[in-house]
Amino acid sequence: MNSKNPRPGALFKTVSAFLWLMFLLSIGFIIAYYPEAPDWNWHGLFRINGLSLIIWATVTFFSAAVTTFASKYLIGFRYYKRFLALSIGFTMSVSLLVFADHIVLLLLAWLGMGFFMARLIGVNTQWGEAREAAKYCQRHFLTGSLFLTTGMLLLAFSANQFTLTGLTQHFSELPFYILLISALCIIVAAAIQSAMFPFHRWLLSAMTSPTPASALMHAGFVNGAGILLTLLAPLFFQSKTMTLLIIIGGVTAIVAQFAKLIQVNVKQKLGCSTTAQMAFMIMQCGLGFFNAAVVHLILHGFYKAYLFLSSGEEIEHKPPKKNKPHINAIQMVLVLIFGVLGALFFAWITGKGLKLDGGIFLTLIVAITVGQATHNIVKRQELTYLKKLVITPVVFFISIGLYALLYNGSTVFMAGLPMIDNPEPLSVLQIAFGVIFLAGFFIMKLGIYERIPWLYVRLVNDSQPYKKTVLRYKKSSK
């Protein structure tokens, strides 16, 4: 080895090249088949459809990006090769998950994802806290697997169907209580995987994994819930548990977004953000937009993988005082105008929110986002009003347009899957959450929460890592 300029190992480079090839291949497939996705099935064991191709492209992209990054970043790490082996194991587990038709394969894939991820968290076996974290997370993942197995086997044996394809066609024949129990079990499994409140602590205790493994966790592993819910979409309609998904997602989204505000460590901050984003994804599922959830998990993956990989950039000498410019009347008008315009553009281009259904909720989020962005642009003095008036619409037009491109594209490509684009009718609960989100927005904008000390301490304690993974051991020389 040239110690003056150490280079990545050959094996690592080969694997990442292979993963990039797989990514290009899956993109090639998607392009070749678009808009009619294939629907292949091999002896009831494996299947390839629109969703599996889209998710596989996503998974190979993140695995390839992370191994490319890690090949250099981890040079000299005692467990360099072990890290690679575990990443491959994880990638293969996710691949199995998306291509599995037989439910035993699906369950094995789920178990495998947790197994490999827990080992990545504890990849440095000489580090006591890392071992504790791995154990703690593994316990969560095993519990998740247990719930998933219970739910799936209950369905499978009741319907005497052991493939996903078969199962999703026979939900309507099953008694309601079977559907309900199974759905609840599966929702628990999903909630653990995507670190929903109150199962969120494992994610905040998993920072003992090398940074690239965290990227894989936050852009890959936690998405398992979105995939699982999408695969079984009809179950939640028929077991009437869509509302539960909205509640789990909605509550977690609010708590985690507030918890994120108080974090002083970059990785825990990103962890809270992931929980909030996953919560939003589950909410999208609950609203009947499983397709939107899939798009969200992909885009969130880009965002979060990037932020983890670049988490070394947070050192900065800042002055202690910050000034908060207040909003004035003209700005307020602009915020409203652009918020409404953004929402209309979004509704027109994606078709969401044109009817009286859950889409309205998602459109509201867009309106608030655009409004917030407008406010951030107009209140700063660095730009002239003319620039503000030009930049604002251009930014929104491109951003919403790109989103719509992916959303519409994947909706078309996943059309073969049952009930994944089936908006729930507008309900009181949805309106309630809409109001809460709006209120949350204003509470955050006005900084009202900053005056509530007990809330602060509560959020601090709820977002602490598991005790045994912090300062539990020390090394003592002779």
């Binding site: 003056k4 300029n5 000299g76 920072m207 000498h317 951030n376 929460y449 301490v457 890592p465």
Partner: protein
């Protein structure tokens, strides 16, 4: 116990910990500076026991050095024999290997965890959008007002938390006698030396954050002890198991043998080089370049001299300007000189006359950067726009991720940063330290002339070429919390160009030159011009700030620029041990976000030479720091005194920091970068949370998790000067003498009046022939 007594006891106890510097201006200090009044061995033994740290190279590091032939067999045999140890070196190495470090449960785990929880919330410097409530009332009060809501800790059973930290401590410590109190305080500080050290930094260095949100060790101890009280754990922590004295002695012998071997081999090289230089003739140089004494400059100087008729000097990278610098972009003031001495001046950037337009453009660019940074941050934070934001921006992040993976150089150019440093439109102005708004005007020319004279003196410099470049240095790296550890150590972890620019501006002023000539007898030729430059140590690019160079000097300037490009290529080849593409490889390393070793910094340094360039000109000395010094112009030894009390101490700090970070990377360094978690915008912890890391990360010092790159050796300093000069300097500098007498630095003299024989300094100023 009065408040003063308590304060005094805490100060005493705090000797056990070092200072933790923030990573935005990283200072390589001696983590054991509180022990310098003891002999090196005694100090490391005591500190090792107090902090439960490794203080001498561990067995596998010695094994590696032994197998790489870095420890001379005769040398270790001799030392073993003298210590009465008769077995073979291999035997003793095996003895060391039979006692590896062990992982143990931390008995005060819960207390440590809670302390870090509350401290990290309070100490935050802008990471959290919702800062700790009551923070402005200070750490103790904020904690007292919040702790009642903390379900992790039942405080109610112990009654009301005392109103002040003094009351809390007096109450808790009342049953202990003075000695026990001292031990108790010391052990609680040593439990989390990184965090306690950062408090020490905030107080002693008057951090702007501490002015707004005060915390001190008193508050730290009061909070910690009251929590221990509530947890019902003994207030007196158990004494750590002392290290095995015999093993430490054995390790120390190996360290000495390693150092002795390095000295023997390096002094041979030095003597050869001195022999050769005797036959050389001097030619007037085309340009002169002054570099930092940093070991990374040696390579550049050697290549530059080989490429053309240039003379080079080594100086402390702060160029003798004891200054603070007000940052142009955010108005924050940073120290830009060695951290141990007080600053005397404050540098403001002012627009160069007729450059108002350029300055306006620079400012606009700065505002745009600020805006985007703010925009991105706000969007991520606010519910529920964070969700919409992720969907709207995901594509950009994906695209940029690909860019950074496959074309880091281009991605680096797209980052939110100034395209140029603004050097062509702003010029530095030098003010007194208290002149915060610059209204009192610049300091007098007489004072400026003195600064310039001292800079010339410290380089032993009297003949000036037409073009003189003061070359500061800084590093460029991406995604690197330790970026500032690669910047100039003599400028307290900042770029050295700021000092270089102000010095060049002063030296160009006709008024200053007049005083230099009339008062100090130094004549700077009229056609000599001074400019500043910057060496980027990760790419070996040298940028010259040449906007003011007149037509008359363009020919020299242009040819120098051409040579610097050639030098970059030949130098990166040597530095990276790569082929013709070395320069572009270096550029990638400097910009890639996945590069955990952008450059090796000062790793591998072991020596420091104070003497003229001619001594080292004929060989490679890339493991040496080097200060230009000419004893012949230093009649009264004043210049040498300056060098020994300034740069030598800087080098000792750097050396001790590298040494301890290498021998115990977890305790004195920062552990591996791959599991770092940045806290509060100023520091890092490991994993989910840990003690605040105090030193350099593993990747700065080690090839792999198991193999060192930096050799942990104490600094060997060689000074070319008459022995009496050195003895006199030491007699007047008791602090320095203590450090040398105690063996923190090995001091050697090369006496020009005695045939340049190298002799080793011994306490009480006796000298012995070097190994």
């Amino acid at each position: 116990m009065t408040a003063q007594e308590l304060q005094h006891k805490i100060e005493q106890a705090a000797q056990v910990i070092g200072k933790t510097w923030p990573l935005y201006s990283f200072v390589t200090a001696n983590p054991l500076s509180g022990y310098e009044d003891r002999s090196f061995f005694e100090a490391v033994e005591q500190a090792g026991n107090a902090l439960d740290a490794q203080v001498l190279p561990e067995a596998q590091v010695i094994r590696q050095a032994w197998e790489e032939g870095l420890i001379d067999s005769d040398e270790i045999k001799r030392l073993l024999r003298e210590a009465g140890k008769t077995e073979s070196p291999e035997h003793y190495l095996k003895t060391l290997e039979a006692h590896p470090a062990e992982e143990q449960l931390n008995v005060n785990h819960e207390l440590d965890r809670l302390t870090v929880k509350w401290l990290s919330l309070f100490m935050d410097e802008g990471m959290a959008a919702w800062p700790m409530p009551f923070k402005e009332q200070g750490f103790y009060t904020a904690w007292r007002k919040l702790i009642k809501y903390d379900e992790d800790l039942k405080t109610k059973s112990k009654g009301a938390v005392p109103k002040s930290p003094e009351q809390a401590l007096s109450f808790l410590l009342k049953d202990y006698n003075d000695a026990a109190q001292a031990t108790l305080l010391e052990r609680h500080l040593a439990a989390l030396p990184g965090w306690a050290g950062f408090i020490k930094y905030r107080v002693e260095n008057k951090s702007v954050w501490n002015a707004e949100y005060p915390v001190d060790l008193l508050a730290f101890l009061a909070v910690r002890l009251w929590m221990a009280h509530c947890l019902d754990i003994p207030l007196m922590p158990a004494a750590p198991t002392p290290k095995n004295h015999a093993l430490l002695e054995l390790k120390y012998l190996w360290l000495q043998a390693w150092e002795g071997t390095w000295q023997k081999r390096s002094f041979k090289k030095l003597e050869d080089s001195v022999q050769q230089s005797k036959q050389e003739k001097t030619v007037t140089p085309e340009a002169q370049l002054v570099f930092c004494l940093d070991s990374r400059s040696e390579v550049l100087r050697r290549h530059l001299e080989a490429h053309g008729n240039y003379e080079t000097f080594g100086s402390a990278g702060s160029f003798g300007v004891p200054m603070n610098y007000r940052n142009l972009d955010n108005g924050l003031i940073n120290k830009s000189m060695p951290a141990m001495a007080p600053s005397k001046y404050l540098i403001h950037e002012e627009v160069i006359p007729n450059q108002e337009q350029g300055a306006q453009a620079y400012k606009t660019e700065g505002k745009r950067i600020k805006f985007y940074t703010y925009f991105l941050k706000r969007m991520k934070n606010i519910l529920p726009s964070a969700f919409g934001y992720v969907e709207g921006s995901g594509f950009y992040y994906g695209f940029f991720m690909l860019m950074r993976l496959f074309n880091p150089v281009a991605a680096d150019r797209m980052q939110l940063q100034h395209k140029t440093g603004g050097e062509s439109v702003y010029e530095p102005h030098i003010h007194a330290i208290g002149d915060l708004d610059g209204s009192a005007g610049e300091i007098a020319f007489e004072e400026q002339a003195t600064i310039v004279k001292n800079a010339f003196d410290s380089c032993g410099w009297r003949q000036f070429a037409p073009l003189v470049v003061f070359t500061g240095h800084a590093s460029h790296s991406a995604n690197n919390p330790y970026a500032s550890s690669l910047d100039c150590g003599a400028c307290a972890g900042n770029p050295g160009k700021r000092n270089a620019r102000i010095l060049a501006r002063m030296a160009n002023a006709p008024e200053v030159r007049e005083i230099l000539r009339d008062t100090h007898g130094i004549t700077v030729p009229e056609d000599t011009i001074f400019i500043a430059g910057e060496h980027t140590t990760s790419t070996d690019n040298v940028e010259l700030f040449d906007s003011a160079v007149p037509e008359s000097h363009q020919a020299i300037l242009q040819s120098l620029k051409k040579v610097l490009v050639d030098v970059k290529h030949s130098m990166t080849k040597e530095r990276l041990n790569e082929g013709d593409d070395a320069a572009s490889l270096a550029k990638i390393k400097a910009t890639s976000w996945s590069e955990s070793r952008p450059e090796w910094g000062l790793s591998k340094h072991a020596g420091y030479i104070i003497g003229p360039r001619s001594l080292t000109k004929n060989n490679e000395f890339s493991d040496w720091f080097s200060s230009s010094y000419d004893w012949k112009i230093d009649n009264d030894g004043a210049i040498l005194a300056g060098l020994m009390q300034g740069p030598l101490v800087v080098c000792q700090w750097i050396n001790n920091h590298y040494y301890f970070s290498t021998v115990d990377n977890d305790k004195f360094g920062a552990g591996s970068k791959i599991t770092h978690n940045i806290t509060g915008k100023y520091g890092v912890m490991q994993g989910n949370g840990s003690d605040l890391k105090v030193g350099l990360p593993l990747q700065s010092l080690m090839k792999t998790d198991d193999k060192v790159f930096h050799n942990p050796l104490r600094l060997s300093t060689v000074i070319q000067a008459p022995k009496d000069h050195i003895t006199k300097v030491l007699a007047n500098a008791p602090a320095l003498k203590t450090v040398i007498d105690n063996g923190w630095i090995h001091l050697f003299v090369m006496d020009p009046e005695h045939d340049n024989v190298i002799e080793q300094y011994r306490p009480e100023a006796t000298w012995a022939k070097a190994v």
